[in-house]
Symmetry: C2
Amino acid sequence: MSDKTRIAVIDDDRSIRKSLVRMLSVAGFDVVAFASARDFLAAVDIERVSCAVSDLRMPGVDGLALQQTLRGRLPHLSMVFITGHGDVPASVTAMKAGAVDFLEKPVRSGVLLEAINRAIERSRNLLAASTEIEELKIRYQRLTPREGEVFALVAAGLLNKQIGAELGAAEKTIKQHRGRVMDKMEAESLADLVLMAERLGIRPAETDFSRAKGKLISEAK
Amino acid sequence: MSDKTRIAVIDDDRSIRKSLVRMLSVAGFDVVAFASARDFLAAVDIERVSCAVSDLRMPGVDGLALQQTLRGRLPHLSMVFITGHGDVPASVTAMKAGAVDFLEKPVRSGVLLEAINRAIERSRNLLAASTEIEELKIRYQRLTPREGEVFALVAAGLLNKQIGAELGAAEKTIKQHRGRVMDKMEAESLADLVLMAERLGIRPAETDFSRAKGKLISEAK
DNA sequence: TGTGCTATCAGACTAAGGTCCGATTTTCAG
DNA sequence: CTGAAAATCGGACCTTAGTCTGATAGCACA
């Protein structure tokens, strides 16, 4: 059980694999190596990997195909590609798909380590962000349909009175829903709730929302 | 005065320039062409350009240098590169710096147009976002130092009472500041203000903020 | 020295948010 | 058909927010 950051090396060339493993081990990483993308994807502890260093051209599943597969399975995992042939279209495809870097052999140790560190940083950030969103989604799912509507309108800044008018319910009822929304979402303040809605991409289902907003302006007079 | 989307073509090869101009004009764009990055940067109406299609290798300022210059001057302007030589490091550098695409000659019309449309979309989004932020910054600058502090704490979800304790002022005073903050920031609701703070990256200056937050919890009991 | 900006606070309300308790009605699955 | 969840609303009360008026005080720049 190592607490070191784990890096996966995927290359069909045994000697390159050995060389990369040695280089990265010396740099203090916990390195796991695979001879093919298939082997890597079949590995049990794949979740623990913070960065994948992969060859581009490999028999079977190549680097780009691996990247696409990972996009679905481990969206937070950042990749660094290594290639022997100058393949511009492949490099562009990889970078557009979110690769952290795309290096040509022979790879200088310093350059690779720098890219790996960026990849690790990126993986961590993505994982943290998606973990937070997932947690919020779980809370959001606990809301009843009605509470969800109230949530959206509250986060949009409407008053209870206006929300009541919008949803055809008494202000009293909205207060009840609102209280339950705060509870279920575990929000400590309205500001908190607004930011949660922002992260969840929650917006009021238009309808005649603009009318309600107009009311806000005119009634404030 | 055309209302068509303007695209800049930068290439030192006259025949390629002509060919690109024709291709893009036929596609309905307002095309302006330049023989060098320097000429392009010196153009008066450069602000109106929504996408720059540039050759990579050019005498004088090359494509990557142009990209760096634009990053400072027109951060919203998205670029599409065209290159004759398979240069992987350059393509990776360009993509890391935010290029929309990096195509090899000869370029297929459909591929280029697709890339350009993505670049235009991206430019528009970036411009809209940065315009909004700039507008918010202008409003934010109108705040006095004290109002700025109150802004941060309000957006963090603290009660007036807690903000008063935090800043060593009476709740009454905080209310005054808070009202002026809402005015000057042109926020229609607290939710609005919270989102503005988020976009401006405004967070309370730590100090003993955690203590105030603790108070919120314990006093709520 | 005077003017303006900033920050401070009080009084006096008015409106809005929030909670507890209790109650009714609807809906839907077991 | 029945029990549980969801949605609805009222009363009673208390806490916050927001505004207007008015007033004091420090500070800086002309």
